[in-house]
């Protein structure tokens, strides 16, 4: 074979290999390119599609992410309202009131106000669950709080007593300030309004909790980046991206060769 024929054969083989590579890579990653394109378009319009507001409810996806009902759950009933703590979330009826690592230590109602305590905070709420004020040690609240109780005074009014630092405290000015007091042993009982929920309520709050945990935006982002399959998924998407680069380069080369042959 002459030198010219040898070069022509090599050139033909390289070209043919490139076409084959381009074809097979294109075929192999087609579905992933489709996925990246669709999720990319969705993420470009995340606000218009309200992706952060929509939550994932699918049990398979939630269990894949390890999202399940927390072990700590407490249910309290005040009149017709429910105050429920599920892990770090405290709900007033169906509305998320606060996220906190602290546990509810007591719930009491007084003069159309609901008082909810954790060890560091006291929440004053309306019967509709609107927050009136959140008190802490910075606002003069004695902490750590141990409990709360209510007692009918001789004047016919109910008075709230807060147990903190092994002392009892009361407030006579709408919870603005607190002063130490003594109360008889017989009324030193902590009030929690704890409630043993039936299966209907359990299911209801399970739906609320799980439905609140995980946005569609997060899911789309993880699909797009490959993070849905943890680090391996990310590396896999990196490989797909690398193949897309090869596809672009090989495609450009093939086109140039064909056009300027």
């Amino acid at each position: 074979m002459s030198k010219h024929q040898h070069h022509k054969k090599r050139h033909y083989t390289l070209h043919y290999l490139l076409i084959l590579t381009h074809r097979w890579i294109g075929f192999s990653i087609a579905i992933f390119v489709l996925l990246l394109s669709i999720t990319g378009i969705m993420l470009n319009h995340t606000q218009e599609l309200s992706l952060p507001e929509h939550k994932i409810n699918n049990s398979y996806i939630l269990s894949w992410y390890g999202i399940k009902m927390p072990s700590h759950q407490s249910y309290h009933q005040i009149k017709k309202s429910m105050i429920v703590q599920l892990g770090e979330r405290i709900y007033f009826n169906d509305n998320l009131l606060v996220k906190t690592t602290a546990l509810i230590k007591g719930v009491i109602e007084l003069n159309e106000i609901v008082v909810l305590i954790t060890d560091k905070h006291l929440y004053l709420l309306t019967y509709d669950g609107e927050l009136i004020e959140k008190l802490s040690s910075e606002s003069g609240l004695p902490t750590p709080i141990e409990g709360i109780t209510k007692h009918l005074m001789p004047n016919g009014d109910h008075q709230i007593f807060l147990q903190a630092k092994s002392n009892w405290y009361t407030s006579s000015d709408d919870f603005i300030s607190w002063k130490k007091t003594t109360i008889p042993k017989e009324i030193q009982q902590i009030t929690t309004h704890k409630y043993g929920p039936d299966s209907h309520i359990l299911k209801h709050y399970q739906k609320i909790y799980l439905g609140d945990s995980f946005s569609v935006e997060r899911f789309i982002l993880d699909l797009h980046s490959g993070r849905i399959l943890t680090k391996l998924g990310v590396y896999f998407m990196d490989i797909v991206a690398f193949f897309m680069i090869i596809l672009t380069l090989s495609g450009s080369y093939i086109w140039v060769k064909r056009t300027f042959r």
Partner: protein, 188 residues
Amino acid sequence: MSPANDNDINSLTKIYSEFTMPFFLPTLLFLIPLNVFATSGVYQTNHDFLNDVFNSHPPKPKVLWITKNIKQLATKILGNRPKQLRVRYWGNKNQTAWILEEIGKEKLITFGIVIEKHKIKSYKVLSFKESRGWEIVQPFYTDQFNNVSLLENLTLDKSIDGISGATLSVRASKKMAQLALLFNKYAK
């Protein structure tokens, strides 16, 4: 000029290790804690802030109830409904001190604002927990709020220069200034 020889290099090394390093290392170590402190944390407790404002004799706090009218105006400033139905303040008709909190990007920033004759007398960041944007703690930023008042359209009567990279913290600080001035109008 002859090229450096081993003796020259040794002399330079000696100068560097004996004179420069003793000053350099402690300076670096001193600066590191300051830098960490400057980024996030509690700069002044509410208690100390009030003591500063009222010469160690802060008055008993009062409460301002967020009525429907105030709620509407506060919503315009915040872009969302106020989180609480009542707000504490200290002082009287002439001078009031407000401690307000707002989220910057993800964490709460606590602001201490003193208002006299409907103008901001002093403005401080009491605590800052975000990972960036801490520059708003510095006097070069907070001093801009001195003598600022609220216009009828609920904006500040003076432009506040922002800080690059601290957009959300700056936004929160402006909102709290507007809110404090609004609340002050209704305080008794």
